[in-house]
């Protein structure tokens, strides 16, 4: 026993050294297998706090470079954002039924450019021939009729709206109650009011009676609202009413529209081409 104590006395420095080394090295060797040792890393509260102070101080050093990087990353993601992308395939829904066959399909679109104060007003839509848009298709919005596709490029299309003074666009309409047919015109003054021609003045027209599309030409389905009669006056020297209507749709702030695709249009035009020419 005395020998042991003497041995410990003699080698106590080396023993302390060995114990400390074993402590340190066992910590080093076993840090992976014992999670409790994670406390003795920067994971603990004090060290984290100190390193946060340090970070608060030094995080601005690379600010300019980091901003540039973030900007590039923003561009990268912005390019991939569906919101900013051009959609090639719009939701065209077609329903198959044995009793009712679907005649119209609709392509949603957005008005990206518009004017209402010209003599002939055109809207630009963000859909084009890539979505199946063709010249002559009807365009309407939730509140009412908008116009007819005038020209379709690959990704965009131009709508000749009902706010057109020239007689290129013929929207067949009728009174909802009395079924009086007529044609929609615009006098080029006010985007809120349109005109109807072709109604004989022997018939009575109620004020505020609803006007909607008739669905004869195959461009618009029947029943799309157009407006309400706001003013009637007989035209001098003609047996016709001058009918002024107020559009239900506000074209000055139009955003979302639908393009109508008539699935029977080819059939209808082929049939109507058989009408003898001499008639």
């Amino acid at each position: 026993m005395r020998n042991l104590i003497a041995f410990l006395q003699r080698f106590r420095i080396f023993l302390v050294f060995a114990v400390l080394q074993i402590l340190a090295l066992s910590w080093y060797v076993t840090y992976l297998s014992f999670p409790r040792n994670q406390f003795l890393t920067t994971n603990n509260n004090i060290a984290i706090q100190v390193l946060e102070w340090e970070h608060d101080l030094t995080k601005h050093f690379n600010l300019s470079k980091n901003n540039t990087q973030l900007q590039w990353e923003n561009i990268y993601w912005r390019k991939r954002q569906p919101k900013f992308m051009y959609q090639l395939s719009r939701g065209k829904v077609k329903i198959n039924d044995t009793i009712f066959e679907q005649q119209y399909t609709y392509i949603p679109a957005e008005v990206i450019n518009s004017s209402v104060d010209r003599r002939n007003n055109y809207f630009t839509l963000n859909v084009g021939s890539a979505q199946g848009i063709k010249r002559g298709m009807g365009v309407f919005c939730q509140e009412g009729v908008v116009g007819v596709i005038h020209y379709a490029s690959k990704h965009y299309s131009l709508v000749k709206t009902v706010l057109t003074s020239d007689i290129n666009i013929d929207v067949n309409i009728h009174m909802k109650k009395s079924d009086l047919p007529g044609l929609l015109k615009w006098d080029g003054r006010d985007a809120r009011y349109g005109m109807i021609t072709g109604i004989n003045n022997d018939l009575r027209i109620k004020k505020w009676s609803k006007v909607e599309t008739r669905g004869g030409s195959g461009i618009f389905p029947k029943g799309i609202p157009v407006g309400k009669v706001s003013f009637t006056e007989p035209i001098e020297g003609q047996a016709l009413w001058k009918v002024e209507i107020r559009f239900t749709a506000d074209y000055r702030r139009l955003q979302r529209v639908y393009v109508i695709k008539n699935l029977h249009l080819a059939e209808q035009t082929a049939l109507e081409a058989r009408i003898p020419e001499d008639d």
Partner: protein, 171 residues
Amino acid sequence: MNVVYKHIIRFFVFVFLQALVFNQLNIGFGIHLMVQPLFIMLLPFELTVIPLMGIAFLMGLVIDIFSNTYGLNTSALVLMAYLRPIVFKFYGPREGYDPLKEPTSQDMGSNWFSVVYAILLGLHTFWFFLLEIFEIGRLGFILQKSILSGGLSFLLALLIQSFILNSKQKK
């Protein structure tokens, strides 16, 4: 100023220097600057080896916590503390060290300081990288890291020494 307070303050200064400045520097070439051996070096002469190793252990623990090295610094610092009296004895004057003096280049001369600190720092650094890499096949890499890091740390220590020296001369 009391010697104990002075060294306690020095302890914190060196820990923060190492953790917040030199651990964050990425110089390249595998260079890892270390200032904490200088703290062990500058502890007074009359401190015996067992308290010295205790202080070294504590210092290494704190440095390890801040640099996520899991006992590497502790082991290297304890080794250095264990070897310090031996090296001191080997290079010391025949009549022993003057207890009023400190192991700085100012008190003991830059020659003595350079030799002793170079030996201790070299052993510390070599032990550190030997444990860190722990692969005999990459001995060349260990030596490269030790020499580069040790050399730069040595220059850094001289720089810090000169700062301490200047502040003392002003007083």
